[in-house]
């Protein structure tokens, strides 16, 4: 760790002996990990190995069969909304309303979480390359642009933990590189991430990755 990051307050997100059963099939059991500020958890595994299920358990939408999750030492099931203000989730579905404009969508995303003070909505759109599309109905954006809008949603709240399920879907190669820089920026600011991707991640070497392969356990 560099000197700058060690002075930052570190937060921890810890999983203890998680198990997930789907249709009488054990997807994983006794799974545990700890990530701290600046680290990214990367889930690997075949289709159907439980990556999405695990991410949904991590954000609290789905309950694990057994096991516990701790945010700074407190169980996330007890924290509820207090945990959710520290996390942002990007799932398979973008979570944007097609009848609203990107700006309106971002305003809602910011209102639902804890607003980040140092970035404006237009600036967040600019950072994902949607400058000039503020007032176009989201319906008229391409699939890749809609995905970019969903990523912009992560930027407007003060969430430390980003939970990303295949964040690069429908992005072009340049877009993927650009988003990787954004994710690195988040980690360097002391954030954390838990993600799955079929794309080989091109983070810089100083980013600490915690890899878990669900197929080889």
């Amino acid at each position: 760790m560099t000197a700058a990051s060690s002075t930052r307050t570190t937060t921890t997100f810890e999983a203890k002996s998680l198990a997930c059963i789907r249709d009488d099939r054990v997807l994983f059991e006794d799974l545990g990990f700890t990530i701290t500020s600046g680290q990214a958890l990367v889930l690997e595994g075949r289709n159907g190995s439980g990556k999405t299920s695990l991410l949904r358990i991590l954000c609290g939408i789905r309950l694990p069969e057994s096991g516990e999750l701790f945010w700074e030492g407190d169980s996330i099931f007890r924290l509820g909304p207090e945990f959710h203000e520290h996390m942002a989730y990007l799932g398979h579905k973008d979570g944007s309303k097609l009848d609203l404009t990107p700006l309106e969508n971002l305003r809602i995303a910011r209102g639902l979480g804890k607003a980040r003070a140092d970035i404006g909505l237009e600036e967040a759109l600019d950072q994902v390359g949607l400058y000039g599309f503020e007032d176009v109905p989201t319906r008229n954006l391409s699939a890749g642009q809609q995905r970019r809008l969903a990523i912009a949603r992560l930027l407007v709240t003060d969430a430390k933990l980003w939970i990303l399920d295949e964040p690069f879907t429908s992005l072009d190669r340049k877009g993927i590189e650009h988003m990787e820089r954004l994710f690195e920026g988040h980690l360097n600011r002391g954030g954390m991430a838990a993600m799955t991707t079929h794309h080989r991640i091109g983070f810089k070497d100083d980013v600490q990755l915690v890899r878990i392969n669900l197929s080889e356990r």
Partner: protein, 227 residues
Amino acid sequence: MSTLSLTSAFSMLLKRDLVLAYRRRAEMVNPMLFFVLVTAMFPLGIGNDPKLIEAVGPGVIWVAALLAALLSLDSMFRSDFDDGSLEQFMLSAHPVSILVLAKVLAHWLVTGLPLFIVAPLLAVLLNIPASAIPTLMLTLVLGTPVLSLIGSVGVALTVGLRRGGVILSLLVLPLYVPVLIFATDAVKTAIVGIPTTAQLSILSAMLVGSLVLAPVATAASLRISLS
């Protein structure tokens, strides 16, 4: 979370749903048209016996309102479920029940309030005396929010099913019975000219009860539907 950001989240979500409804306004008039058409069918079917029409009038208006409310329920969470917005609500920094309340209120403003506005016209159509129309309006303004609130629990439970429509009506219609009984009884009593305080008080109690309990149950049901 502070109270201020909670109120602003509530009003933001309310505004969002009203804007969305406005942008698809063609779909939103459907429940009201359904209400008007169903009610208008009855005099045609029953024939020109004014006494008979007057006797069935309150019941017809209320059953039509019930069916119109049921018809519109599915739209409460459907599109939010399909595009992933619902997941984001569940993961918001605010209590889900408050967000649910904002959504139900928006839904009632868009689908319930129009019924209330056209009801006097339909009352005239069904030969309900003018003296009973204020009571009819009161029962609608107290009763239709109860329909939306109770319905929100049912629709939250069935939103994950692909064909939840029939199950939804089986779940929700029996729960609508008390509202139907007391509301129609109030209007019938008002036609005779007897005070209706008792029925209206019970309707108010139902409104307050469902206002407090339904959002919590809906939030829990949504959690079940999404996991």
